[in-house]
């Protein structure tokens, strides 16, 4: 009886204090998703203008962006803080990554809208799922507890599984969704097992407590390895990359644009917090693992990309290669390295959004024309789009003046600063091999002749805005990167 009474004693229940301001972006994104779902529910009674889902999505992202900027000001002036009972860290790095996620969601939505109309797929559900996933990503970027990391990982993944299979009438899309789901679930299970082991070793899942508890036993190390496996799957690092080519090739192209950029950014954000920050004192244990992952990803990504005959598949391998370059920055586990990682992720996300965005349009009705054969003569049929794709590919290859060069330069600079010259040399040489794969696309587009007449209509407005914005950003960040570097520098001071 007394026990029941004490349970009823509301005052005594520990309710964590929520700083809604700090966790506004993921909350707003999720709320927007709910609004869109409500719209669907009342569609038959009230009708639904075709532009409304996209507009709602963009407004939601816009509001989240405003909160992100305000939150940035607050954190820079007042310092980082923890909220929601230690589950969420509001700090510069988290906000920086949240901002990247918002960019991914915005351009991803712009690119997707016309695709959905072209393919006669449902609009609102797509945006709702995408916003759900983005909310998971934003939460993951600020996660301060392994439980938050896992929850947000699931939120972002489950929505992506559905999105990958969004063209449910087409077999490749179904296959992509299923494959992604099965392998992703296994990876999640492994990740969860890792969390369990860490909890067993440390007695807490809170990253701050983990970082303050110097344990170095077998349980702990096994936990770290399993966490790394889980992350490596999400960032598509070799040897946990097997799903990537199939999923990228089979999933709808705008989904790939969003997945390749946003999911990777979020996973890297969580990985930075969990492995680099919270487990920093055991870095001599995990640094070699990341070193191997980085080198293997760069090499396998570059070499496998060479032999592909489908552009989406080639880009999948190239994104594996990019994961390798980003891992160089993480592996260093220095402030410079983390800052370089953040800059690379921003540049990478925008380049990939641009590339896949343009490809969404070029793949044509049915989303099928993505082989090298289909790219032939594109420069004559679609001069502007071909030029944009070529620019994004050169940027991905790291040729200046582009954000891709500055990103690679930053990572190599951080590595040279830590005297990891081996990584620098492997990196610059692999970049040459990787360039060859991109050049093959340009060869097909510019040097080979194909059909003269284009069957594609005008470039839709939303897609054009999204892709051009990505291109301009990529160019400006390549010429005048100071602004971005300053932001990343200020955001990464917490190490």
């Amino acid at each position: 009886m007394s026990a029941l009474l004490s349970l009823a004693d509301v005052e005594a229940l520990p309710t964590p204090s929520f700083d809604w301001f700090g966790i506004a972006p993921p909350v707003i994104l999720f709320a927007t998703a709910l609004v869109i779902i409500l719209m669907v529910a009342y569609k038959h009674r009230l009708g639904l203008a075709p532009w409304l889902p996209l507009a709602t999505t963009l407004v939601g992202i816009g509001i989240a962006a405003v909160y992100t900027v305000l939150s940035w000001g607050k954190v820079i002036d007042g310092g980082p803080y923890t909220t929601a009972g230690g589950l969420v860290d509001v700090d510069g790095m988290g906000i920086f990554f949240t901002a990247i996620v918002l960019i991914c969601a915005a351009i991803g939505a712009l690119v997707a809208s016309d695709y959905l109309r072209r393919e006669r797929l449902d609009q609102p559900e797509y945006f709702a799922l995408m916003l759900c996933s983005a909310s998971g990503m934003a939460l993951m970027a600020t996660a301060a507890d392994l439980i938050t990391v896992f929850l947000s990982l699931e939120i972002l993944s489950i929505a992506l599984y559905v999105l990958a299979a969004y063209r449910s009438s087409e077999e490749p899309s179904q296959e992509a969704g299923l494959k992604y789901f099965l392998l992703g679930s296994v990876a999640s299970a492994i990740f969860l097992y890792g969390i369990a082991l860490i909890y067993g070793a440390v007695g807490s899942t809170n990253l701050r407590i983990i970082s303050d508890t110097p344990v170095d036993n077998v349980l702990y190390l096994a936990g770290i390895s399993l966490l790394i496996v889980g992350f490596a799957f999400k960032i598509a690092a070799v040897p946990f990359h097997m799903w990537t080519p199939d999923v990228y090739q089979g999933a709808p192209t705008p989904v790939v644009a969003f997945m390749a950029s946003g999911a990777k950014v979020a996973a890297f954000a969580a990985m930075t917090r969990t492995i680099v920050f919270a487990m920093n004192y055991t870095r001599s244990d995990w640094q070699p693992i990341l070193w191997v992952l980085a080198v293997a990803s760069m090499l396998v990504g570059a070499v496998s990309a060479l032999t592909q005959s489908n552009v989406k598949r080639m880009l999948a391998y190239s994104s594996i290669g990019h994961a390798g370059f980003i891992l160089i920055g993480l592996q260093l586990s220095t402030g410079d390295g983390v800052a370089a990682t953040m800059v690379y992720l921003l540049a990478y996300a925008v380049m990939v959004l641009g590339t896949f965005g343009a490809l969404t349009y070029l793949s044509g009705p049915g989303d099928r024309d993505t082989s090298f054969e289909d790219m032939k003569g594109l420069a004559r049929r679609q001069p502007m789009m071909a030029a944009l794709v070529a620019f994004f590919l050169f940027a991905q290859a790291g040729i200046p003046p582009s954000s891709g060069f500055m990103a690679k330069f930053g990572v190599f600079k951080a590595a040279a600063d830590s005297e990891s010259y081996a990584l620098v040399i492997i990196g610059v040489l692999v970049a040459v091999i990787a360039a060859f794969a991109y050049l093959r696309v340009i060869v097909a587009m510019y040097f080979q002749d194909g059909d003269e007449d284009s069957t594609l209509g005008r470039v839709p407005l939303g897609l054009r805005v999204g892709v051009w914005a990505a291109a301009i950003f990529t160019l400006v960040m390549g010429v005048l990167p100071q602004f971005v570097l300053d932001l990343a520098d200020r955001a990464s001071v917490i190490l």
Partner: protein
């Protein structure tokens, strides 16, 4: 973000930006309005040429340091600065670049296939090349060095001939692979410097006077830079991309490639390899000279057996650039002078030859030497121009080719006699293959298509004439060129001597002639007299005087 530090008109930035403005303007012109595109392209390249001419006019003779320096902050977080500057070594490359591009556009008057893109690529290429020759921050230099790749890749791949895709890929991958390690070396150098001095900078002026580099490290870094530049030059055995790229590129592309892009390599040696790693350069110089000599002989021999006129000229480039390499790594005043002058002369002569072969190809759609014969009778003006260009390229005294090669060999002779002797054979071989080709193409009785091949038009003459006239002027009176090169070369050699154990071999007394007049007999007579007024200050003057005396003498 770019805060100016100097108040004057940024002339060097204007050289880089003007072609870019042209490219942006062209981008907004409809692609069917080829005439407007053509006019904009011409305008932009002529403006750039005018700026280069103004630079030449304003250049302060006798100052060996950097002039017109612009130093602004660029990416502070990474220690990168936007530094441009020009000295006697880069001046002529800038002027050459400015000169070549209007001629390139003039020569492409009949090109209509995707001309808009062609013009944009060419102008971006020009901006990139200007940047390469002007940048004094290592990373900025690297950026321009890479920027140049894309437009050239497109030029070869889109407007090239049958095997253009293979050639374009080979060009791109060779160059990128070469420069990849240079980026690693640049970073290493920057961080070794910052770890010792606490200042993170890639300003080559500061890095060159640092001198805190361990010798073994310097050698590795030197090698990384060397590979990047050797691919560009190209130095045997890294030359295999060049014949493919040259043969498959459109005529204008070959011209740009030969005239200015190959120079990026030899310029890199002078500006970065020698300046940043003097001791390593001194240690490796004998080996590099051997490679240069191999290039001279190999290029000449392979050129001699070519059946394709363009390939023949391409291999002759390998030989000519060999002279630049031996001159540069002889590390003597006449050698470096000769190297730079050969760069300029090769830019004039070889581009004239490539233009001419291009004109012939436009008429006949073949470059097989065996297909031609007796063209002297049907195309007399063309034959005359080709003959002058060939003579200039062969190194006939009185034309620019001779002065450069003579000085290179002179400098080489001081440092390494065997290399000089072997290389001299290359001069004879050059005469052999070019004149042999000339004989095949132009002499005899015209048959078949050769009977009615039309002669060159006024426009085509206007493309080649400036190059040949300049070649003649420099051949007869190289002094104004050398006056501008010399102080910078002196400063460079002083720097090398200061930072290494190198002692520049002195000019043998017999060749020392100090004479302002160009009379040969007087020059020879005064050789003994000049010997008496010794002293370091006079020494450098001697080599110039000697040269001036020697040139007209040879012409007789």
């Amino acid at each position: 973000m770019l805060a100016a530090t100097g108040g004057d008109f940024p002339l060097l930035s204007a050289l880089v930006v003007t072609p870019l403005i042209g490219a942006v303007m062209i981008a907004f012109v409809g692609k069917s309005r080829t005439e407007i595109v053509r006019a904009f392209a011409m305008l932009a390249s002529v403006c750039t040429a005018a700026l280069a001419g103004y630079l030449l006019w304003q250049f302060h003779v006798g100052d060996g340091g950097f002039q017109f320096v612009e130093d602004r902050s660029w990416v502070e977080a990474m220690g990168l600065r936007y530094i441009l500057g020009v000295d006697g070594i880069s001046l002529w490359m800038v002027v050459l670049t400015g000169l070549i591009f209007p001629l390139v556009f003039l020569s492409s008057a009949n090109l209509n296939d995707r001309f808009k893109m062609y013009a944009i690529s060419m102008l971006i290429l020009e901006a990139g090349i200007m940047g390469v020759f002007l940048a004094l921050d290592l990373v900025l230099f690297f950026v321009f060095f890479e920027v140049v790749l894309i437009p050239m890749y497109l030029l070869i791949g889109i407007w090239g001939h049958e095997r253009r895709i293979y050639a374009a890929l080979k060009f791109f991958i060779y160059t990128m692979a070469g420069s990849a390690l240079m980026l690693a070396a640049i970073l290493t150098l920057g961080f070794l410097h910052s770890s010792q001095t606490g200042v993170l900078t890639f300003d080559m002026r500061e890095l060159s006077i640092w001198g805190g580099l361990a010798q073994s490290t310097a050698q590795w870094l030197f090698l990384a830079f060397f590979v990047a530049f050797a691919v560009k030059v190209p130095i045997f055995p890294l030359h295999t991309w060049l014949p493919d790229a040259h043969v498959e590129a459109p005529a204008a592309g070959s011209v740009v490639l030969a005239a200015v892009m190959l120079k990026m390599g030899t310029y890199g040696f002078l500006r970065f390899s020698l300046t940043l790693f003097p001791q390593a350069a001194v240690d490796m110089a004998p080996w590099i000279m051997v490679l240069g000599a191999i290039g001279i002989i190999y290029g000449a021999l392979v050129a001699a057996v070519q059946t394709d006129l363009k390939k023949l000229i391409a291999y002759s480039s390998v030989a000519h650039m060999g002279f630049v390499v031996i001159g540069t790594f002889s590390l003597t005043q006449p050698g470096l002078d000769g190297g730079i002058l050969t760069m300029l002369a090769h830019g004039l002569n070889t581009s004239a030859l490539f233009f001419l072969v291009g004109f012939l190809y436009d008429r006949r759609h073949t470059r097989e030497i065996a297909q031609f014969g007796g063209l002297w009778k049907t195309m007399p003006i063309f034959a005359g121009l080709f003959l002058v260009a060939s003579f200039a390229s062969v190194g006939l005294p009185g034309l620019s080719g001779f002065v450069g090669e003579y000085l290179s060999l002179l400098g080489t002779f001081l440092t390494s006699r065997p290399v000089a002797v072997v290389s001299t054979v290359g001069v004879i071989l050059a005469a052999l293959y070019l004149l042999w080709a000339f004989q095949q193409v132009f002499t005899g009785e015209p048959e078949g298509d050769n009977r009615d091949t039309p002669d060159v038009s006024v426009r085509e003459i206007a493309v080649v004439a400036p190059l040949l006239i300049l070649s003649l002027v420099i051949g007869l009176y190289p002094r104004p060129v050398l006056d501008r090169i010399n102080p910078s070369v002196e400063a460079l050699l002083d720097h090398v001597e200061e930072q290494s154990d190198w002692v520049e071999p002195s000019v043998p007394p017999a060749s020392v002639v100090h004479d302002e007049t160009t009379e040969v007999e007087a020059g020879h007579d005064e050789a003994g007299a000049a010997e008496t007024d010794s002293g370091n200050a006079a020494d450098d003057e001697h080599s110039i005087g000697n040269l001036e005396a020697a040139v007209p003498g040879g012409a007789k």
